[in-house]
């Protein structure tokens, strides 16, 4: 045996490993442990306090026959589709426009990004006032002379979720724009020059050359937007608190209301497990495609 035996693999980079122990523990105990605990108790009939009294799938059965939950899911889908599509399109357009070497770019960037500095609660309150028929947009237009003008999305059950989406877009597009702008700046000048030499029109360059090259930026943006969609709660609370009636309820609010107002932990856990499941269904195939096939480093 030589004295210069290679140290065990376990002890390589020991400092780094020790340093990451707290984070590993947090991830395991808080995230994985908490998730497992929640899923486990979603099969019980826990009321105000958690109890291990299993009732099988009863909570899920009740969940999927509750109209409020179904309305919540439908709202989440509409809200999700709108914020995903529009914040990507508007964000990219704004970024592309800012990228035209315009004057006062910094000023515009600040203006567009500013809403993102506000919390959802503040955003919600501001838009609640703007969309209130008695002193918001409707009132202003009526005062200008169009007395039959009507615009009250937050008080109309069938379109209330769109009213909420407007506020979300106003708040979130700035960030998407910044991410996109960073992506655009990462594209080599030479590519633009080459495209110009070949006489490719600008819109085609964007669509067929630049956007495919920005794939990583799009994926990052997608993940950020998607996470924001699933957890939407405070915006709804500030704007409508789920009303009129239950027309603008969202899943996260159902979870909170049933866990704390209704003192029915089991039902709340079942709902949050369903939320987790929906995220998993979206994330797993994507993660597989992204990281699965090829081995890195």
């Amino acid at each position: 045996m030589s004295s210069s035996k290679r140290p065990s693999k376990l002890f390589r980079n020991l400092n780094a490993k020790v340093a990451s122990v707290p984070m590993i523990l947090t991830a395991l105990v808080v995230f994985v442990g908490g998730t497992a605990w929640t899923v486990l108790y979603s099969f019980t009939n826990s009321k105000l306090l958690p109890r291990l009294n299993f009732v099988g799938l009863d909570q899920y059965h009740r969940l999927w026959s509750t109209s409020r939950w179904l309305v919540s899911i439908e709202n989440l889908l509409i809200y999700g589709a709108i914020s995903l599509v529009f914040s990507l399109i508007i964000g990219f357009l704004l970024a592309a426009l800012l990228d035209q070497k315009i004057r006062f770019e910094d000023t515009f960037r600040t203006i567009f990004l500013y809403p993102f500095a506000l919390s959802f609660i503040v955003t919600g309150l501001v838009w609640q006032w703007l969309l209130n028929p008695d002193f918001g947009v409707q009132r202003v237009v009526r005062d200008l002379g169009w007395t039959s003008f009507s615009f009250d999305p937050l008080y109309n059950s069938s379109i209330v979720i769109y009213g909420i989406s407007i506020a979300a877009l106003w708040q979130g597009t700035g960030l998407v724009m910044c991410l996109m702008l960073a992506g655009l700046r990462g594209i080599d000048e030479d590519i633009w020059k080459a495209a110009r030499v070949d006489g490719i029109p600008m819109w085609k360059t964007y669509l067929f050359i630049v956007i495919p090259m920005m794939r990583p930026v799009f994926i990052t943006t997608l993940v950020i937007i998607a996470a924001g969609i699933v957890k939407v709660y405070d915006l709804v609370v500030a704007q409508t608190s789920g009303g009129p009636g239950i027309a603008s309820e969202v899943p996260a609010k159902y979870v909170y209301d049933y866990m704390f107002f209704a003192q029915n932990l089991g039902q709340g856990f079942a709902a949050s497990t369903m939320m987790l499941l929906s995220v998993v269904i979206v994330i797993v195939p994507w993660a597989y495609l992204e990281f699965g096939g090829k081995k890195r480093g």
Partner: protein
């Protein structure tokens, strides 16, 4: 000079800090009484408790019981209990008691003979779990009142109605005069409470008990309850133009004559009082909507979490006794607009509406309320249903009743 003054001030603070804990015990009391009338009432409780040499630390939580209760419960279950807390007596704190987190008050109750002074007896029954008493009822609140603005009816050229049926007939004329016939805020509990009131008034006490006490789902799907839904439909049409959320904003519409009436518990009375309105002259109240003059004995009670701190535990006893003291009862309930829990207090200064309530109470025409009969879970499902029902004009009565019967079938 200035320096000296500062030193003196500093010394004074130090002295005060020293005097504090020795003379008085701070007891934090959480509650959700934050509207004008409610805050005035709770100040009376604080004053009475401070007079005993202790100190009431006010822990008001804004946003009505629905918001406040989760906060209170998580503080108690999370190991940071307050000195005392409000709940509606009945089943809201049931599990906290079963988990052994609340203090058993039976000794104090026997010593002070609560069973003899608290009236009606059902109040103390709602505080009793497994033969032990866990809460101090402080008032009787009943939901079944219709508040009418005399001014609004005058403006529409109508006499003030005597009961719900007359009121419904007046609705078109009120609307023509630009008045909202019925004010109803958007908070879910208001919708669900109004429906319960309509059931007790138009269906009668037996119907109410059959649904909520016996939880007879077949009956809830039957023709008796269909009639109640018909009345709720009237209410839905009358209330369609109210664009407010909170109950006191809705009450304010009635106070200012913008709306003709509101179905709301007797806590609305405090708001009329703060606004300087006189019962009988500016506004009219109809217990049981003028149809069924029975009042429910819901209300507020204080629960005392089990504490380790000896001094605070002693202060809890003092607070419990203060709450039932005749003088406190009168002062508190006059401001709150609710009825006192003891029959032997003098309420000469009570106004018209409270006297009506007291007379009904003296007759013994009382019934339990949903807080006592249903779990929070069932209550929440009911709230979801009725907030949807009242906000959605195209929801049919049959559909709503079917879902109502489903809730009753699974109720606990």
């Amino acid at each position: 000079m200035r320096y000296k003054f500062l030193t003196a001030a500093f010394a004074a603070t130090v002295a005060l800090n020293f005097a504090g804990p020795a003379a008085a015990t701070d007891l934090e009391v959480t509650h959700w009484w934050t509207s004008g009338g409610e805050a005035a009432a709770v100040a009376e409780l604080a004053k009475a408790f401070d007079a005993t040499g202790n100190h009431w630390v006010d822990g008001a939580i804004a946003g009505s019981g629905g918001t406040a209760r989760p906060i209170m419960i998580s503080r108690i279950t999370g190991g940071d209990p307050m000195g005392a807390t409000q709940f509606n007596h009945g089943r809201q704190a049931e599990e906290l008691v079963q988990a052994g987190l609340m203090r058993d008050l039976t000794d104090i109750a026997t010593k002070d003979k609560w069973t003899e002074i608290v009236r009606p007896k059902s109040l103390l029954d709602s505080c009793t779990i497994d033969g032990k008493i866990y809460c101090v009822p402080v008032n009787i609140h009943s939901w079944q009142w219709l508040w009418l603005s005399n001014e609004a009816f005058q403006k529409a050229g109508l006499p003030v109605p005597k009961d719900w049926n007359e009121y419904v007939k007046d609705a078109p004329a009120l609307e023509k005069a630009g008045i909202i016939p019925l004010a109803m805020g958007g908070q879910p509990w208001q919708a669900s409470g109004a429906f319960d009131v309509l059931m007790a008034a138009t269906g009668g006490t037996d119907t109410f008990l059959k649904v909520y006490k016996d939880k007879d789902a077949k009956f809830a799907a039957g023709p008796e309850i269909a009639k109640v839904f018909k009345a709720a439909d009237d209410a839905r049409k009358m209330a369609k133009n109210t664009n407010v959320q909170d109950w006191n904003q809705a009450t304010n519409l009635v106070i200012t004559g913008k709306a003709a009436g509101q179905i709301m518990g007797d806590w609305a009375q405090g708001e009329f009082q703060v606004a300087g309105k006189t019962a009988g002259k500016d506004y009219t109240c109809l217990p049981g909507l003028g149809l069924n003059e029975v009042i429910a004995t819901g209300g507020d009670a204080f629960y005392f979490p089990l504490l380790k701190d000896e001094a605070k535990s002693k202060a809890q006893v003092v607070l419990a006794e203060t709450l039932l003291d005749p003088k406190t009862q009168v002062a508190f309930n006059l401001k709150k607009g609710s009825l006192p829990v003891r029959g032997d207090v003098d309420l000469n200064t009570a106004n018209d509406c409270m006297k009506k309530g007291l007379a009904i109470l003296a007759k013994g025409a009382v019934m339990p309320w949903t807080d006592q009969l249903l779990s929070q879970d069932t209550q929440k499902q009911k709230e979801d249903l009725f907030s949807e029902f009242f906000a959605k004009p195209d929801m049919t009565l049959e559909e709503a009743q079917k879902r109502f019967a489903d809730i009753i079938a699974s109720a606990d």
